[in-house]
Structures are given as structure tokens and as C-alpha cells.
């Protein structure tokens, strides 16, 4: 195996490691707040990956200043747009998850989803 490309693109590797951390936290943590933190790490890792894909070394953000309009001067703006869209999505799902967590906490005074499930089974609702 040749790992030289991995070292060359270490930023992407970092993004993927962060994605893995976030994904496993969202899947495996019992505490709901930790799950939500995992969700945010996962989404942020995606934005890091996307932003890296749009960045071209030595170029600037695509905002026209001083009349420079050459394509060569700017980075690719589409991934940045995708990141913005993604942030909106992740903010709304985070808000929804937090509100669900508050509801569950008021009812059961715990953040442990498994304990809530066992209590629900006992209630036999």
C-alpha cells in the first residue's frame, strides 16, 4: 500500500476521522446530549471536507474587489454554497433534536434513551 497520498491530503483524512468520531458518538452514546454533540461533529466534518474540496491554494474568496474578474483569482464557490445549505439543515435538525430531548427530560428526568425505553415498557402504555 502506498500511503504518500494520505499524507499529501491529510486534511481530508482528518475530516473523515472526525466524521467517524461523530458518527460513532451519534450511534453508540447513551446520553442524548452527547448524541447531539456527535451529530454536530459529524456534520461539521462534512463541511470541512466540502470546504477543502472548493479551496484552491493561493486563491481568494470569489468576491470581486478592485475590478479583478479573472477566474484564476478565485476559489470554487459552489462547495461554500453547499456548506451554507448544509449548516442550515444541521441547525434545524439540531434544534429539533434538542427540543425532543427537553420533552423527554421533563417527562422522565433522565437523558438515557435506553432507560426511557425500559420505563416505557414497564408502563405498558
Amino acid at each position: 500500500m502506498d500511503f504518500s497520498n494520505l499524507m499529501l491530503n491529510y486534511e481530508e483524512a482528518v475530516a473523515m476521522i472526525l466524521f467517524g468520531i461523530g458518527f460513532s458518538n451519534l450511534l453508540l452514546q447513551k446520553n442524548l446530549i452527547k448524541k447531539i454533540i456527535g451529530l454536530n461533529i459529524m456534520d461539521t466534518a462534512m463541511y470541512l471536507f466540502l470546504a477543502l474540496k472548493g479551496y484552491i491554494n493561493g486563491r481568494k474568496a470569489p468576491i470581486v474587489v478592485n475590478g479583478v474578474q479573472s477566474v484564476e483569482a478565485y476559489i470554487n464557490p459552489i462547495p461554500s454554497g453547499l456548506v451554507l445549505t448544509g449548516i442550515v439543515v444541521s441547525v434545524s435538525v439540531t434544534a429539533l433534536m434538542l427540543s425532543l430531548t427537553i420533552r423527554l427530560y421533563y417527562r422522565y428526568h433522565t437523558l438515557d434513551l435506553d432507560e426511557i425505553s425500559t420505563r416505557l415498557k414497564k408502563e405498558g402504555l
Binding site: F19, G22, F23, L26, L27, L32, K35, L39, M42, D43, M46, F49, L50, K53, I78, P79, L82, T85, G86, V89, S92, V93, L96, M97, L100, T101, R103, L104, R107, Y108, L113, I116, S117, L120, E123, L125
Partner: protein, 501 residues
Amino acid sequence: MAFVQNFPFMSIILSLFSGPLSTVMDRKKAKIINTAVLLILTAMSAAVLVYVMGTGESYVYTMGHFPAPWGNEIRVGVLEAAMALFFCVIMLLCMLGGVLERELELEESKENLYYVMVNLLLCSLLALIYTNDLFTAYVFVEINTISACGLIMIKQNGRTIEAATRYMIMSLLGSGLLLLGICFLYDLTGHLLMSNIQQQVRILQETGAYHVPLLVSLGLMSIGLAIKSALFPFHTWLPDAYGYSTVSSAAILSSLVSKGYIFLLVKIFFRVIGFDIVKNSKVVNVLFVFGIAGMIMGSVSAIRENNIRRMIAYSSVAQIGYIYMGFGLGTTDSVVASIYHIVSHAATKSLLFVAASGITDASGDSTSFFDLTGAGYRNKLAGAAFTVGSLSMVGIPMFSGFISKLLFAQSALESVNKMLPTLIALAISTILNAVYFLKTVIRIYAPDRKLASEKHFRTITMADQPQKAAALILFIILNLALGLSSQPVIRLIRSGLSMFS
């Protein structure tokens, strides 16, 4: 450009904007607006279908007249238009069938929020069906998830909130993987429009470059959407979500929400990656194995269930397994069978949920099997409808479920390695389906007058619940129509799929 060509875009926008309008109305007006919008959307989708079938080819609608690689696009072919029409009809019937429950179970101030969720859900489903842009698809997948979560938890008790949380967690895992797959694909091809990605993927395939990343991207998107549509090992949220939410939510969730994701997966297979690449990859084998496991395990869990709503929910797990098994077989015929099963399952499962609510109404709102004895006599129409749904699920000729099983079996014969497992799994699953569905049918037609008079169960006639009766009759007609005249539907799916590539 014909005026009809604007309809797909208009229907998405109409259903998006009627949502906020419902929030400021009182419940009566919100209900009227919702029904009117659903009717208009149905009419629009029908007009689009007639138009596309008339011209015989698909068309691309550029949003804001920005040309291809930059602008956002809507693409309409026969299959898209037919799916949109079908989803609108099922949505209308589900809403009609659950009117009474919504009035009883939801808080008065929450009911117009329900219509917001329904409108948003339909908007996202239509966008998923029509869009030609992969990132737009991702955004609407998330909107779909959020509004489905609202539909689950709008009837507030501990169970539904817990189910909604579990649903959100699973869905977010799935959409994380989907987004990762889309980003990889964007990275490899530099495009987000499906047709442009496909051109680039063809070039990559010819040069043999980036073979592994392409495969990883396909795998991530497939698994992400499989998680979101509750393929077998990821189905833990499903029984609670379907079993305790209000009846129209359960019907909509089981028949539409998961199907929207599956339809997106079909589009990814055919329009983004190209089906010849997909069927030669190992991804289909993974889907095949999980699909077969789901067919068996879903039915086994359903047999052990004593609650009629949860039993129907577990049966959904089995039926989703059928659909993924069809993808796993990896031939065009098997995908046609899968799409037919999407249609037939959506029609049958919503019928079963609405019929089950009619049966439980006649059993003192109890969902446990013991109280259901003889319910078929107390609510004759719901009993008959439940029987029709059960026979269709088991796969008796005349009903739609039979046709999809026949199509699966026929398409299995084409592939040498997967023929035997498919046929065995189909046989076992049919027997298991028969065990739990016919068990229920026998129970609701078992004469037990003592129980009914002891517990003072009321008898329900069609006049007591006119909306539900109308919905059930229309569902039965739809089911029989799909079962008796399946050839036009299959031809339509075939021509739609050939328009895809």
C-alpha cells in the same frame, strides 16, 4: 413550452406555501385548505402524466433559465409523473381515513400544525421525485425527515416522543452517510446535476480511474438511504413510530415516507451512477442479503406481536425487505418488480392501517388481539377492508400483492446465483405472512358475542364514520384495480425506467 410543463414546479411550490398559510388559519379552514391543495396537486400530477405519456419522452425544466451545469433542474418522465400522482392520491386517502382520529387525538391548537407537516412532507416527496439535482435531493430528504418526525410526535405521549427521537437518530445517521456519498461523488465528478454526473461517471468507468472511490460513494448512498427507509437491521424505531402515532400519520409514514427514499435510490441507480455499473458492483449483493434477512425477520417479529398496529408495522419491515431484495437481484425486471411493490405496498399498507383503526374503534380502542375477537361483525366495512389488505399482503391472486410476488419470482429466474435463495425466501415469507395476517382475520371473524356484550363494544356502521368508510372503499377499489389490471401499470413502469437512462 406547454403550460403543463410548469406543473411539477408549481405543485412543489404550492404545497410548500400552503403549509405556512395553514398555521394562521383555524383548524376548520386549515383542513379545507389542505384538502383543496391535495386535490389540486392530484389534478396537476394527472395532467403532467397525461402530457408526458402523450409526448412519449421526458423533459427537463430549468429553474430560472440557468443552463445545465450551473442551474437547478427538474426532470419529468412517465415514472416520475406516475409516482407523483400515486403519492398524492394515497396522501389524500390517508388524510380522509384519519379525520376522526385527528379530531379526537390531537390537541385543538395542534391540528393545523398537522396540516403544515403534511404539506411539507408532500412538498419534499414531490421534490424528491422530480429533482434532477443531487444536493437538492439531500436537502429535501432532510425536510422529509423533519416533517415525518413532526407527524409522529404530534400525538403527544411518552411512546411517540421516544419513537420520534429514535427515528431522528436513525435518520440522521442515514442522511450523514448519504451526504458523505454525495460529497464524494461531487468530488470525483465536479457536478451536482444527475445527468452531468452520469456522463462523468461513464468517462471514469472507461478510463478505469477512481474505481474504489466511486464504489465507496455508491455504497454510502445506498446504505444511507437503506437506513432511512428502515431496512431490516435499522428498523428499531419503526414499530413504536407506526404503532402509537395517530392513524393517518402511521399510514402516511409507512406508505409514503420510506417509499420516497427508495424512489430516490432508484434514481441514483439509474440516473446518477448508471445501472450497468450498479449491477456489476458488490453493493447489490449487500442489499440482497439484508433484504432477504428483513423479509424473514420482519415477519417473525410480526408473528410474536400482540398489538395489531405494531404487527402491521413489523409487516412493513418485511415488505421493505422485498423491495431491497428486488434491487439486490440486479436486473431491470427485478427493479420493475420492486417499483411495482412500492406501489402495491403503499396502497395495501395504508389500507391496513386505516382498516385496523376502524376495527379498534369497534373494540373499545384496544389494540390487543384479545379484544379484537368478532370485531369484523361490529364494523363490517373495516373487517372486509382488513381482509382485503391481508389477502393482498399474503399474495392471493386478484389482489395487488400477488402481482408483485409473481414479478419478483419471475425476475429471480433470470439470475443464476440468486434464484434459489430468492425463491426460498419468497416461499417462507409468504407462509409467515399468511400465519400472522390470516390469524388476525380469523380472530376478527370469530363469533364471540359474550365478550362484546361484557365490554359494551359499540357497533359501527358506514354512516357513523362516512369519511373513513369512503377512504376504505376507495382503498379497496385501488387495490383490486392494481391487482386485476396490473399490465398497464407494469408497462408504465417499464417505459418510465427506460426513459431514466
